[in-house]
């Protein structure tokens, strides 16, 4: 079960998890630390800092999850850990 490929599978899975977690921290918190500065940029009437909290981060979360589902499935298949179709 935990042979060579098994370990590599979990390493790759963990690496993907940490990447996603990093992006999550960025879009949940870090980008909003700069709301004051971002608000001076206005696009289509939206101050950017406000826009990031109202829409930007949300769009990022949705896209991240579809990308994650796809990437993890690729890892599953490449490492021979995927379920049968």
């Amino acid at each position: 079960m935990s042979g060579q490929s098994g370990d590599r599978y979990w390493q790759r899975t963990s690496a993907l998890m940490w990447t996603m977690l990093g992006l999550w921290i960025f879009f949940s918190f870090v980008v909003h630390f700069f709301v004051g500065a971002l608000n001076s940029i206005v696009i289509l009437g939206f101050p950017l800092g406000f826009y990031m909290a109202a829409q930007g981060s949300l769009i990022a979360f949705v896209v991240m999850l579809f990308v994650f589902a796809r990437r993890q499935d690729e890892i599953d298949r490449e490492e021979g850990q995927a379920e049968e179709d």
Binding site: L23, G45, A54, F61, F66, G80, A82
Partner: protein, 665 residues
């Protein structure tokens, strides 16, 4: 066997079935719209919406009845990820999200966006840390995982306690919301509406368990999203000619900003009380803003009624894509809520900026004033005379509506938008039906989570492990019935406190469940004792902070005054009130205590963290306790380690297999 064939047919025809359903729903709205034009009274249109939609949900529930354990608990693990995403959306979005969120954004501006962020971003944690692994595990309930991973029924019991404490108040609030929506906006009697909602919920969930709840939630999602988006799409088209409100409200934001300036210049708004809509941190300080986001997100990833939805997908792969679809469907509503807020604010600010005479206020103010949701000059806006009388009591009032005179309940924003924009009543009825769908679907999911924990975890796993399938299902249904009736009864007493306690559910779930759940998958070394101590301490600290700062604020402050962020002035006031209370006697003592307690609630805190974000303390305590205690106790057995390994890999059979379900397939 014949049942299996017909079920296969149902799953492969889902697209067609729900397309017909959606078309039928639109036709139904159009028919009601025509009836309205023909002069059918509004009240009948309203009843039509409530009873027909509830009847449809009930029919779906009855058609999905089942006598199989696997169908009852996890819908046979056959729900495609797209539909499971819709069902999760309905499960997730509560009556309060639907009705109250836009109003919160209206009142708080940027700071209210912490709810928008907090109630969406948590799904990232669900997908990357939890859901696929729980699906592979093959549990029926979240406590199942705790029992297998952490050596038995003690961990199971802890998980059940946390589950019930975060779910019960939540379900009461949903049933309460049902009554509120129906009574306020359709003029029904509150108690009648509560019990009508109860019947709807029971018919949806009792006969078919998870299977029935899943297919009704999909139907409810369709109703709620149509209801939410229709009014603002019309509004956006009317105002800006583009039917994409999420794009056009940028212009509304600009207009709001210039109105804010203009109102202050004209003396129609006090600069001190005006919170510029897009300016951050006018209500919350940054610490509380980010703490709230964190607690809501981690809470999302720990709420059992959400996690159990991912037990129903056909595969681990589907569980992952299902989380993505869930967030997509939730996103559709949450990224539209700020548009509602902006359009309403523009409307209200324009009204004030015109220096409207009190005698010329628009009709909607009185419509909602009569049911206590709009106050002008501190009194319910019943009619022109009452408004003029109330404002007459204020010194130097010029008889013109000012911003500080107006106070609007958060529920009004969504429900009044159709009327403010001059849309026909049928749209208002549609919005009410959407609010009901949101409240009912969340109540279904929560009730099922509670009843399953009682019947599967307590009765079957702990009391009577040899119970035959039939008995288990009978017990499940009886428990579901009693939990639902109890929740409806509590809701019918209109408990004010329960409603404010709903927001606590997120912190309780986060602190009690999240650390042990995540470490259970991601850290093999986490031991049974570590889990038990971590759950107890995380949950304990969180509940201590919640209850202490709310109900025992005076003694909490006395114990922890050195950690309080209260200003010297607030502290001095506390001391002064305490002396007054100690000096008082007789009936005055009670009033003095009340004043003291109210003041204490504003100063009782650790570093100024509001109690809604109690998990900010519970979470690190939980993680640390599991880590430290695990390192000091023996590592889990080889069996458990192997089981964790298997949980991490999608390939292969699920780890838990129900013996009855296995026989039946």
């Amino acid at each position: 066997m014949s049942q299996n064939v017909s079920r296969g047919d149902f799953i492969s025809n889902l697209g067609r079935i729900y397309t017909y359903y959606t078309g039928g729903f639109f036709a139904f709205v159009i028919v009601l719209g025509i009836l309205e034009q023909l002069g059918v009274p509004n009240r009948w249109i309203g009843y039509g919406f409530v009873f027909l939609t509830i009847a449809v949900y009930a029919i779906i529930g009855i058609l999905s009845r089942t006598s199989e354990v696997g169908e009852y608990y996890v819908a046979g693990r056959r729900v495609p990820s797209f539909y499971n995403g819709m069902a999760t959306g309905a499960d997730w979005m509560s009556g309060a999200s639907f009705v109250g969120m836009a109003g919160t954004l209206f009142l708080l501006g940027y700071d209210g966006l912490s709810f928008v962020l907090g109630w969406t971003g948590g799904y990232v944690l669900v997908a990357i840390l939890i859901a696929p692994f729980l699906r592979k595990f093959g549990a029926y309930t979240v406590p199942d995982f705790f029992a297998e991973r952490y050596g038995g029924n003690a961990a199971r019991m802890f998980a059940v306690i946390v589950l019930i404490s975060c779910s019960f108040t939540y379900v009461v609030a949903q049933i309460y919301a049902t009554g509120l929506i129906a009574s306020r906006f359709l003029d029904m009697n509150f108690e009648v509406a509560v019990y009508a909602g109860l019947v709807g919920i029971l018919l949806c969930s009792m006969l078919g368990g998870m299977k029935a709840v899943t297919w009704t939630q999909v139907a409810q999602y369709i109703v709620l999203i149509v209801a939410y988006l229709t009014p603002i799409i019309i509004l956006s088209t009317q105002k800006y000619g583009i039917p994409i409100p999420e794009l056009t409200y940028g212009q509304a934001l600009q207009e709001i900003a210039s109105l804010e300036k203009s109102m202050v210049e004209k003396g129609l708004a006090a600069a001190a009380s005006l919170k510029p809509h897009t300016q951050p941190f006018t209500t919350y300080d940054p610490l509380n803003y980010f703490a709230l986001i964190l607690c809501l997100m981690v809470g999302t990833a720990s709420l059992p009624h959400i996690l159990m939805r991912y037990f129903t997908t056909p595969s681990v792969r589907d569980a992952r894509s299902s989380v993505a679809w869930s967030l997509f469907f939730i996103f559709l509503l949450y990224f539209s809520a700020p548009a509602y807020a902006a359009f309403s604010k523009l409307e209200v600010y324009s009204l004030i900026n015109k220096a409207t005479q009190l005698a010329d206020l628009p009709q909607w103010i009185y419509t909602y004033g009569k049911i206590g949701l709009v106050k002008i000059c501190g009194a319910d806006a019943l009619n022109v005379q009452s408004v003029i009388a109330a404002c007459g009591k204020i010194a130097n009032h010029a008889g013109v509506l000012r911003l500080q005179d107006l106070s609007i309940n958060t529920d009004v924003i969504v429900l009044s938008t159709p009327e403010i924009a001059g849309m026909p009543y049928v749209i208002a009825g549609l919005v009410a039906a959407g609010g009901l769908a949101a409240a009912l679907s969340t109540a279904d999911g929560l009730l099922l989570a509670i009843a399953n924990a009682l019947s599967h975890d307590i009765y079957y796993k702990m009391v009577n492990p040899n119970a035959p399938t039939k008995t288990r299902l009978v017990v499940s249904r009886i428990l579901l019935f009693f939990v639902a009736v109890l929740a409806a009864w509590v809701a019918s007493t209109k408990p004010a406190d329960i409603l404010s306690m709903v927001a606590w559910a997120f912190s309780i779930a986060a602190a009690g469940i999240f650390p042990a759940l995540v470490l259970g998958v991601w850290w093999k070394r986490a031991s049974t004792l570590g889990c038990l101590v971590g759950m107890a301490l995380g949950y304990g600290v969180c509940v201590y902070y919640l209850v202490g700062t709310r109900y025992y604020a005076v003694s909490f402050y006395k114990t922890w005054s050195w950690l309080s962020s209260a200003t010297p002035a607030a502290q001095a006031k506390f001391v002064e009130l305490r002396n007054a209370w100690m000096a008082a006697s007789g009936p005055a003592k009670e009033a003095a205590w009340k004043a003291l307690d109210t003041q204490a609630q504003t100063v009782a805190n650790w570093w100024g963290v509001r109690n809604i974000s109690a998990a900010l303390f519970g979470l690190p305590v939980g993680f640390l306790a599991i880590w430290i205690v695990s390192l000091f106790t023996p590592a889990p057995s080889k069996t458990v380690m192997d089981m964790v390994d298997a949980t991490r890999r999608p390939r292969g059979e699920t780890i838990l297999r129900d013996k009855d379900a296995a026989v039946q397939h």
